[in-house]
Symmetry: C2
Subunit: 294 residues, 2 copies
């Protein structure tokens, strides 16, 4: 009998991830806040379930991919949540990016109901999810990580076990520190290039092969030049991740001056109504600062 | 008859670059502030010249690789400088990182003496220079860039013509904006990882294949973890480059908040006597900030 997987949260990331599970021939059940978002997947073989609890009853594995810590708590702990329907020994994998404290709290509740829990946030965005090439950062017990391997292999190209529950999220926060500052680097370099009269496309070509190289330069730099601000990853979600990062940093008294600056500048994008654009729209804030100086 | 190249400034970068010119079977003449720094090269076939002017007399090409704008002005414009000995039609290539204004000023002087000039700063550091794999950003006339191709091919893996004289330097400043902020990204991510109890080595492994990827993460991150602060590129020189960048930005009224922050934090390294360490020592400043918070 094929393995049963329940996918909760069918959005920009959750939909292509569930599709890759179907392709890998898992039996896939889906639940999401808005049923219509699951229509395409149900046309491809997924089966709708009316609540997380009902979904949980049919599934050996449950993966969740939602926006923020309160959403994850609701998915697992609400009256009709996963914990209300969990089968003994079922393995829950939260792939959302949320606070490490939320991961630990939900893990305790799942274990109290006889289930197992991994936190497994991802990097790679929409294109990585579609290609099944996500980087997956996992926290939890080694035996559970091994058991989830067929799932992770269907979704990602690299899975790294980072320690106990919560460490997947903490590693993802490191990822977001890096992404945020690499993004600011590209924004400042391109605005500077334009203002001093360089052709920014030639500049990118000249520097991308050396010590300035980054994923952000290759992927976001080109989008900034063509004015393509469609979200690979939304500013509102990056801000949510940076908020969690800065809260965790404050709790441990780690100063992150650069990360804090990135978050302040992205707040200016949000104030300008650009929260649902891709993170590459950070360049608009730097450009507005430059324009103010004139 | 083999082409004659004069190399002025034999330091961390200039020495391996001159060595690659010897390997490419150019006839190489050398001059440097301190004669002893050229001993190894002279043992390998280079010929010492007592001044830049004397060196210029024998050479079709002259490359200079010195520290800062006043050094370049001295090399070309001083009493015993290149301009005092320049052969008609000789092509001067300054590969130092200096201000775009200096590049333009020296170019005018060289042209007034019947020579040609390119500004061609590089990226890739000591290891790139040794391997002949520098990225070279060139400003000047296309005909001169074409003429210099055999030289550039011996020194680098990629040469991009960025526009008229000065544009090589401006492109290099973009490179340094990127390198500076990518470096801060790695420093903050590793300090955060350590303070929240992650194994920073596992963290690097988990994030390096995704959207957080950068040259800095791969090359400086690992050195930060092993405490290897030997210079690939010195903090004092990075600060010189950021000073030129921030001056050029101020002149054009381009705000670079992230780049300015990086420079301020590197100033704390300089205050701690770490100016001659590699740029990866920036992590020490972030660690000291974290320690102060305790």
């Amino acid at each position: 009998m094929p393995t049963t997987v329940g996918a909760i949260g069918i959005g920009i990331m959750g939909e292509p991830m569930a599709r890759n599970l179907l392709r890998a021939e898992f039996t896939v059940f889906v639940h999401s806040r808005t049923r219509a978002t699951t229509d395409r997947l149900c046309g491809e073989g997924a089966q709708w379930r009316d609540s997380a609890a009902v979904l949980a009853r049919s599934c050996e594995f449950i993966i969740s991919m939602v926006n923020d810590s309160p959403d994850v708590e609701a998915v697992y702990l609400a009256e009709n949540g996963v914990c209300a329907g969990l089968s003994r020994g079922a393995l829950c994998i939260d792939m959302s990016t949320v606070s490490p404290d939320t991961a630990r709290k939900v893990a305790r509740a799942v274990e109290a109901c006889g289930g197992r829990f991994l936190d497994a946030p991802v990097s790679g965005g929409k294109t990585g999810a579609e290609a099944g090439k996500l980087s997956i950062m996992v926290g939890g017990d080694a035996a559970d990580v091994a058991r989830a391997k067929p799932i992770f292999d269907a979704l990602g190209k690299a899975t790294v076990h980072c320690g106990p529950v919560g460490n997947g999220q903490l590693t993802k926060l490191c990822n977001q520190i890096l992404c945020g500052l690499n993004l600011l680097a590209v924004s400042e370099a391109i605005v500077f290039a334009k203002q001093v009269g360089l052709d920014p496309k030639v500049m990118l070509e000249a520097v991308r092969g050396g010590a300035a190289a980054s994923w952000a330069l290759d992927n976001l730099g080109t989008r900034m030049l063509t004015g393509d601000f469609a979200p690979m990853f939304m500013i509102d979600l990056q801000q949510k991740d940076l908020r969690i990062t800065l809260e965790a940093a404050l709790a441990r008294r780690v100063p992150l001056p650069g990360t804090a600056l990135v978050s302040q500048l992205l707040a200016a994008n949000q104030a300008a109504g650009e929260g649902r654009e891709g993170t590459q729209a950070l360049i608009k804030t730097i450009e507005r600062l430059a324009a103010m100086n004139r």
